[in-house]
């Protein structure tokens, strides 16, 4: 009767675990927010396979068919489902091509700013002391800059191009990540397993990369998802002002700018790209919100 053999207890856990995993996956699938995810998937496909699904060449001009309205309006045709712009270019094709641009810029900026911000947060939070003070003051400086105005100024100086705006937005955007993630780093730093890693003689680099970073990924992913929307709006704003991706590339922002003077006559030229921006940004925001709830501290798993 007197026994301390605990073998029985683990069996149950391991057995239930296998089943539990599957139930967790099934449950997770039911709860994915399908609306934003579908929208984003559609745009993602546009971005990657745009060349194959585009009904027309987005760059091809055809002045004979300029300013054709969408197909359900009198004067429109199914040849150009969403109509054409002032140069006769098919709007639908341009929107599809524009998706590639927006998403490329979006992801590039988020990856750049995210990586830089995370690195600074890790060094600042874990090493503390002077490193922390200096890095955080620099972060504060960047955070207090008026984002759009500085972006405009830099874009004006460097000249409009896709790579330039990726660089500019990346350099302006890392500070937000650094500040928030530093808080997370401090939280993780206080856990006992960090002390145990020090006792095991883990190097500072190992602790930052192997112990702290994996535990702040959740927050990073949420931040990045929410940032994507912001970046796309910024890119559109810069393109609208002529400082972003230069013509004839069909950046959505430029398309909106092109149609500005035609707003009351050929409304479709500005409206469709505007709606595209709205859909993508809103979907990223909804996805980010869902991720934030999903990756709640209670579960802390991705």
């Amino acid at each position: 009767m007197i026994s301390s053999h605990p073998a029985r207890e683990t069996e149950k856990t391991v057995q239930v675990s296998g089943r539990f995993h599957w139930i967790k996956i099934k449950g997770a699938i039911w709860r994915i927010p399908w609306a934003p995810v579908t929208i984003l998937l559609i745009f993602l496909i546009c971005g990657i396979f745009g060349n194959f699904i585009s009904p027309h060449d987005p760059m091809k001009t055809n002045l004979a068919e300029a300013k054709t309205p969408p197909f359900w309006v009198k004067g429109g045709s199914t040849e150009h489902l969403l109509g054409t712009d002032v140069f006769g270019r098919d709007i639908l094709s341009r929107i599809i091509k524009g998706a590639a641009i927006s998403l490329q810029v979006g992801f590039a900026v988020v990856v750049f700013a995210g990586a830089l911000g995370t690195m600074i947060a890790l060094l600042s939070g874990y090493l503390g002391g002077w490193v922390d003070v200096v890095l955080m003051r620099i972060t504060d400086m960047f955070l207090s800059m008026p984002y759009l105005m500085v972006a405009i100024a830099l874009a004006a100086v460097l000249g409009p191009s896709k790579n330039n705006i990726i660089l500019i937005m990346g350099v302006l955007g890392w500070a937000g990540y650094a500040r928030v993630l530093r808080g997370e780093v401090l939280r993780v730093k206080g856990a006992d397993f960090i002390k145990l890693a020090i006792v095991a003689r883990a190097s500072k680099a190992r602790i930052m990369l192997r112990h702290i970073f994996p535990n702040i990924i959740n927050t990073l992913v949420v931040l990045a998802t929410l940032q994507l929307g912001v970046v796309i709006i910024m890119e559109s704003s810069l393109s609208f002002l002529g400082l972003g991706v230069p013509p004839p590339d069909p950046a959505w922002g430029s398309m909106v700018a092109d149609g500005r003077v035609l707003l009351f006559t050929s409304w479709w030229v500005s409206t469709w790209p505007g709606i595209a921006i709205l859909l993508v940004v809103m979907s990223f925001n909804l996805l980010g919100d869902w991720l934030r709830l999903r990756l709640d501290p209670k579960f802390r798993q991705l």
Partner: protein
Amino acid sequence: MISKDNILEVQDLKTYFYTSRGVVKAVDGVSFALKRGETLGLVGESGCGKSITCFSLIRLVPRPAGRIVGGRVLFEGEDLLTKSEKEMTRIRGRRITMILQDPMMSLNPLFTIGEQVAEPIRIHQKLGKLEVWEKVKEMLRLVHIPSPEVRMREYPHQMSGGMRQRISGAMTLSCQPDILIADEPTTALDVTIQAQFISLLKEIQQQAKLSMIVVTHDFGIVARICDRVAVMYAGKLVESAVTRELFNNPIHPYTIALLNSVPKMEVKVDRLYSIEGQPPELHALPPGCSFSPRCPDVKEVCLKDYPPQKEIKLGHYASCWLHG
């Protein structure tokens, strides 16, 4: 069990939580009685339902997941489960009060001690401004807080854990309640502070003729201040008796195992008795008796039906197929 001596009678209380993993039967048919002036200990490990039982008594079960689905809670003959929320607010804090485990969580860090002790007095009693402060000082003196006039103006973070717990006590006792529920009141305290606080509880109980329910996992507290004990496991009450009787003649195998697995200062052993396995998941309870997977004396019938509660000896109840 209905008798005039009982200030509180709980009959077949059931509180379930509806979660995505299934129905968690946190409290599953718990019945016990509390006599006037008596201290009842509610003992069990984490997840056994003892805290939820206490929250159910005063209907503070977290909604919407949790719901009291059955039973009666007779407080001086009246069923609390049928009362309106308005009537309950008059009872909570005034006639039945509660002290929680973590004193830092019970006190609001933004208000002074005086303000917080005064609050229940203001809500439940109609006293003038000066009278309220006099009462606050009186309560602080009752719980042995030195220089109450000075302490009144201080904030919780300026006090030690032991003092904060005593202030929680002052807050709950200010309206002369009939029943005090203490949920693991000393778990976060040091040994000597724990002794101080328990003596204080005993002293106050005798002065005010208070009835107490003490929730704990520590048999030492039970041995020190409880008149009767009830042992809970997986949402059910498995045994209850007068304290001395439970320590001397425990009946349920879980109680026996628990008492044997605790190291005692007075007796030296080489190895401690330990119970195999772990407490069950409340949404996936085994059929029959919930303790059967870990019971050293398990029989066939234990795996099929849950044993009914029986009075094995006078005042000593247990739910076990081995006895009756």
